[in-house]
């Protein structure tokens, strides 16, 4: 899990123009680092699979191409 202080979280929020109050920060403090750690892991996984597997562009649609 990424280390993310409340001050850093506040700074990130400010950079995004989000007006967060203390309650928001308390709630988001444990959630956002975990989410960003998950996202970091996925970027690594996607890069690894991109290098070893050919992703079929036809499947780059939700539902695997099923449409109606």
């Amino acid at each position: 899990v990424k280390d993310l202080s409340r001050a850093t979280l506040r700074q990130l929020a400010n950079e995004r123009g989000l007006m967060l109050d203390e309650d928001d920060l308390v709630r988001l403090e444990p959630m956002v680092p975990d989410l960003l750690a998950v996202a970091d892991g996925l970027r690594e996984r996607a890069a690894q699979w991109r290098a070893t597997e050919r992703l079929d562009p036809d499947r780059r649609r939700p539902g695997g191409g099923l449409s109606r």
């Binding site: 309650d23 444990p30 956002v32 996607a46 699979w49 695997g64």
Partner: protein, 464 residues
């Protein structure tokens, strides 16, 4: 069934058959459910808006149509509940948010329109986690639904009201939405059947939901009922309901794959593991081959669904969060803000992970008819709630969310009961567009097991 009181646990199929043989009239069923909802829902909190008057009028119209020999199909006259994030014309739709406490849509969502066109009656708008993406919270517009099997606990969500209403005998069946397990988890937690259809099979517009991963799905008391609802939702092209009720003999033995490594890595509660193994044995007894399989990346796909959900939830709510952020519940506000901290690269990586796992599953489904997993690794909504803030552990959606991202259909069927009296669910996942096969596989298992015949006792609901 002789008394009015006995009507509330009829399945949609049973009620429809009784409408047609004249032993039950739609107004009698609607009146019984209205009375039951008014008596029990102050405790259960499953219903945000009860459409008693409109439902009574529709029931009288159905009765008159039957008298004229007109029949719109097996759902004609059946009272259905609708998750309150799905738009209903002329009927308040709140998404359980103070932001929408007075919103009355001018049009039905396509899924609701499809049900009305099949003759179903919209009976109630059902409770949910605010905007279907949050955790159960007492500061939502309506406090969270209670699990009828143990009213001291909330129901798992987010289609909690839909599952609670069906399990408690307040609605015959219901619609939910599912972006990571929100139909399947509450269905399993309340002992009823829930389906997340293949992405794109059922129109999900007109619902507050992350568009690329969320499906409108049916919740019912039987596999047959879910098949009937899906048939109506998908325009009649998806399922032969008669084959679900009386499954045809398959050519060769059906085969279920068990992603054993993924399941064990998630370390489900031991009572869930035991019920799951018993269900697999039961399939073996029905002549189904059960084999272990490996699908690389299922846990990654669950995590990726969480990233996509957060990104799309923030994108959908950004303007409202900035303009009226104080009107969200505190939990819902935090949940919808998370996605602001993700990057475009994060979102694209998550989608690529989904592409890769979808390809692996598609290849696997040339060798097996379905995958089987537990629905959730936890028994209680409290454990599920605690896991949601820490997705790196897999969380409550570790078994359900991968298939939102890949788009494959997934069905939750009751498969056991914990020592404390909480239902446990089995998940069956099928090939894209393979709902009919999935339901045909689940139907005989359901009929061979006792779980679908069990209902929470009114005494439990009265005591609370």
């Amino acid at each position: 069934l002789s008394s009015t009181e006995d009507l509330h646990f009829l399945t949609a199929a049973e009620a429809g058959r009784r409408f047609r043989d004249g032993s039950l009239a739609p107004p009698t069923l609607v009146d019984a459910l209205v009375e039951r909802t008014r008596r029990l829902d102050p405790l259960l909190r499953s219903t945000i808006t009860l459409a008693a008057e409109a439902a009574s009028e529709a029931a009288s119209s159905a009765e008159a149509a039957f008298a004229r020999g007109e029949w719109m199909g097996p759902l004609h006259g059946i009272p259905i509940g609708v998750k309150d994030c799905i738009a209903t014309a002329g009927l308040r739709t709140t998404a359980n948010s103070h932001l929408l406490s007075d919103w009355v849509p001018g049009e039905d969502a396509p899924a609701v329109a499809a049900l009305r066109q099949s003759g179903a009656i919209v009976f109630a708008k059902l409770n949910l986690n605010e905007f279907a993406w949050s955790i159960p919270s007492e500061d939502d517009l309506k406090a969270p639904p209670r699990n009828p099997w143990r009213p001291a606990s909330y129901s798992m969500g987010s289609s909690s009201g839909s599952a609670v209403a069906v399990a408690s005998g307040l609605c015959v069946a219901a619609l939910g939405t599912d972006a990571g397990g929100s139909v399947r988890q509450p269905a399993a937690n309340c002992g009823v059947v829930g389906l997340k259809p293949t992405h794109g099979l059922v129109a999900s517009t007109g619902a507050f939901a992350p568009p690329s991963i969320c499906e409108v799905g049916p919740i019912g008391r039987s596999v047959e009922d879910v098949a009937m609802l899906l048939d109506a939702l998908a325009g009649g092209a998806s399922v032969n309901v008669g084959e679900v009720a009386a499954p045809r003999r398959r050519q060769g033995r059906a085969r279920i794959g068990v992603p054993r490594w993924h399941i064990e890595a998630a370390a489900p509660d031991r009572e869930i593991s035991a019920a799951f193994e018993q269900a697999l044995e039961a399939f073996g007894g029905l002549g189904v081959d059960v084999i272990d399989v490996e699908v690389e990346g299922l846990a990654d796909a669950a995590a990726a669904d969480f990233v996509v959900l957060n990104a799309e939830a923030f994108a959908a709510h950004e303007r409202t969060l900035r303009a009226r952020g104080g009107e969200y519940g505190r939990s819902a506000r935090a949940y919808h803000l998370q996605g602001a901290f993700l990057s475009a690269a994060d979102y694209i990586a998550a989608r690529e992970v989904g592409d890769a796992v979808r390809g692996r599953l598609d290849r696997l489904f040339s060798d097996v008819d379905a995958l089987a997993t537990p629905v959730a690794p936890f028994l209680t909504s409290e454990a599920a709630r605690a896991s949601k803030a820490h997705p790196s552990t897999g969380g409550v959606a570790v078994f359900t969310a991968p298939f939102n991202l890949t788009g494959h259909p997934a069905l939750a069927v009751p498969c056991g009961m914990s020592a404390a009296g909480l239902p446990i669910g089995l998940q069956l996942v099928g090939r894209a567009g393979g709902e009919a096969e999935l339901l045909r596989l689940a139907g005989p298992y359901e009929q061979a097991s006792p779980w679908h015949t069990m209902h929470p006792a009114d005494a439990t609901l009265a005591i609370g």
